[in-house]
């Protein structure tokens, strides 16, 4: 074995080929790991986005708002909407209310039971809000009201003045 090892040390004709092979293999492995990492990060981003979209869709699906009573005070031009979250998800925010196709985004939501101001409706919770429609509504007419929630769900109710 010793003379053969010495012979290998003395003869360097194949060393360059071995080293180049090792370098190539190392480079391929490095690039492979880099690609693996990059691909994983890309797929992670994708799954995050997709997960958020699915979660948002699921939350939106679970939202249900029912109109308990809609009252318009002709004398005061005041519309009070009583509603309930009959869905299975809480934290329902009333983002925009359309009356007669006019949007209103300054909604002060209150609890039906106490009148306390709340930011959102939890499941089975009842609340109300009042808005001043502009232009004022005609007496004896039928109108529709559309509520857009923070998650983007839309609920439509009708009422008579």
């Amino acid at each position: 074995m010793q003379p053969r090892f010495l012979k290998l040390l003395k003869s360097r004709r194949a060393v360059s080929a071995v080293i180049s092979n090792m370098i190539l293999v190392a480079a391929v492995i490095a690039v492979g790991f880099a690609m693996l990492g990059w691909a994983q990060s890309q797929s992670s981003n994708y799954t995050n986005q997709y997960g958020r979209a699915i979660s948002s869709d699921i939350n939106q699906l679970q939202e249900r708002i029912v109109f308990e009573y809609i009252r318009y005070d002709n004398a005061k031009n005041n519309l009070t909407v009583y509603l309930m979250n009959s869905g299975t998800i809480g934290n329902v925010i009333i983002a925009t209310v359309y009356v007669n196709n006019t949007p209103n985004s300054t909604i002060v939501l209150r609890l039906l039971s106490s009148g306390a101001s709340i930011s959102s409706l939890n499941a089975t919770q009842e609340g109300y809000f009042s808005i001043i429609p502009y232009p004022s509504l005609a007496s004896g007419a039928n109108y529709s009201i559309k509520i857009i929630t923070g998650r983007g769900s839309s609920f439509v109710g009708t009422f008579s003045t």
Binding site: N21, V25, M35, L36, S43, E68, Y69, G87, T124, E126
Partner: protein
């Protein structure tokens, strides 16, 4: 054996000649990367889709449960008491298979003033099993309710699933006589028998007016007071919420008993009256009876459409039955109803 030999030979050649080895390593890496990523994303996507499908199924089930809530409302009564309070009583039978939880009861009141008010009350432990009957008996504050007016009252319940269960609409009279809305069989119009009045008709210049200060009960009339006019309070209880428009042919028709085959009759045709001054407005314009509102309707004219007094010569003595022969339209459909059960005595 030859296959094994060939494999060994290939392995030896691969070891002795390492050219292209990196390609194999790269390919293995690529395959590993692809397999790991695809399988991870695929399995994860499946789990997300399962989650979404589960939610869709649950939501559909909730919608189905909501649409399957079925109730029958029986024996609705509203009883105003101690001014500004109303007792709501009703029996609600759950004819569906799933249980129902009532969470809120709403009350809406109006009269012909027009005055409206509403209130609500939360219900506790109002769960009704399928097939069972729930008895609602709540007291609600309705500021402004008094015992001197007639109200149209409606009420509805909200279920936890978000359904609305309407109770029967009812007219409550001043003396708390409660009449349920059972007009399908006898016609849409209902008369307030407690407030049937008679007025003297007087002349002021070219126009005639009802002397409101001469108001007496309509059941006993003095012939010497003629010309007179009658006021009845009618309420439209149409189940389809249509307004009624009474035409000029509507009349207050009396038949006096007679002998010899000839009947003696007196007729008062419908007129428009200014509710503030009592002035009879001519020519007659249609009389609108808004649904669920008690409306005063006046009969004073001998001729239809215009105004002519019904003088004492046109009246007879004694007891006579009265027919309110009312014609016009209900919504856009023709309408006609005769309200009997009223008699007057002319002395």
């Amino acid at each position: 054996m030859s296959a094994l030999f060939r494999l060994r030979k290939t392995g030896r050649r691969l070891i002795s000649d390492s050219k292209g080895f990196s390609s194999i390593v790269g390919a293995v890496f690529a395959v590993l990367v692809m397999i790991s990523l695809i399988s991870t994303v695929f399995v994860w996507s499946l789990s997300q889709n399962t989650l979404y499908n589960n939610t869709v199924t649950q939501t559909r089930q909730a919608d189905l449960d909501r649409s399957n809530e079925k109730t029958v409302v029986l024996n609705t009564t509203y009883t105003p008491y101690n001014n500004s309070n109303v007792n709501v009583y009703a029996q609600i039978q759950n004819i569906g298979s799933s249980s129902i939880q009532f969470i809120t009861v709403w009350l809406y009141m109006s009269n012909s003033t027009p005055w409206t008010n509403y209130n609500f009350s939360s219900l506790v432990n109002a769960n009704v099993q399928g097939g069972s009957t729930f008895t609602l008996n709540v007291n609600l504050t309705a500021t402004g309710v008094n015992s001197n007016s007639t109200y149209s009252i409606s009420s509805w319940l909200i279920t936890a699933r978000g359904n609305t269960v309407a109770l029967q609409r009812t007219i409550v009279f001043a003396n708390n006589i409660i009449v349920s809305q059972t007009t399908q069989g006898i016609g849409a119009l209902m008369m307030d028998f407690q407030n049937f009045t008679c007025y003297k008709v007087k002349q002021s210049g070219p126009s005639y007016y009802l002397d409101f200060s001469s108001e007496t009960t309509g059941y006993t009339v003095k012939k010497s007071d003629a010309p007179v006019a009658f006021r009845v309070i009618l309420t439209d209880l149409d189940t389809q919420n249509r307004n009624i428009n009474l035409s000029l042919h509507s009349e207050f028709f009396s038949i006096f008993p007679s002998t010899g085959g000839n009947y003696k009759a007196a007729t008062w045709y419908i007129v428009n009256v200014d509710p503030a001054t009592g002035v009879i407005l001519t020519p007659f314009n249609s009389q609108i009876l808004n649904c669920s509102s008690a409306t005063s309707v006046y009969f004073a004219s001998k001729s239809e459409g215009s105004f002519t007094t019904v003088d004492s010569n046109d009246m007879f003595l004694g007891t006579c039955p009265i027919n309110l022969a009312l014609v016009g339209t209900i919504g856009t459909s023709p309408f006609g109803q005769n309200i009997p059960f009223v008699s007057i005595y002319v002395s």
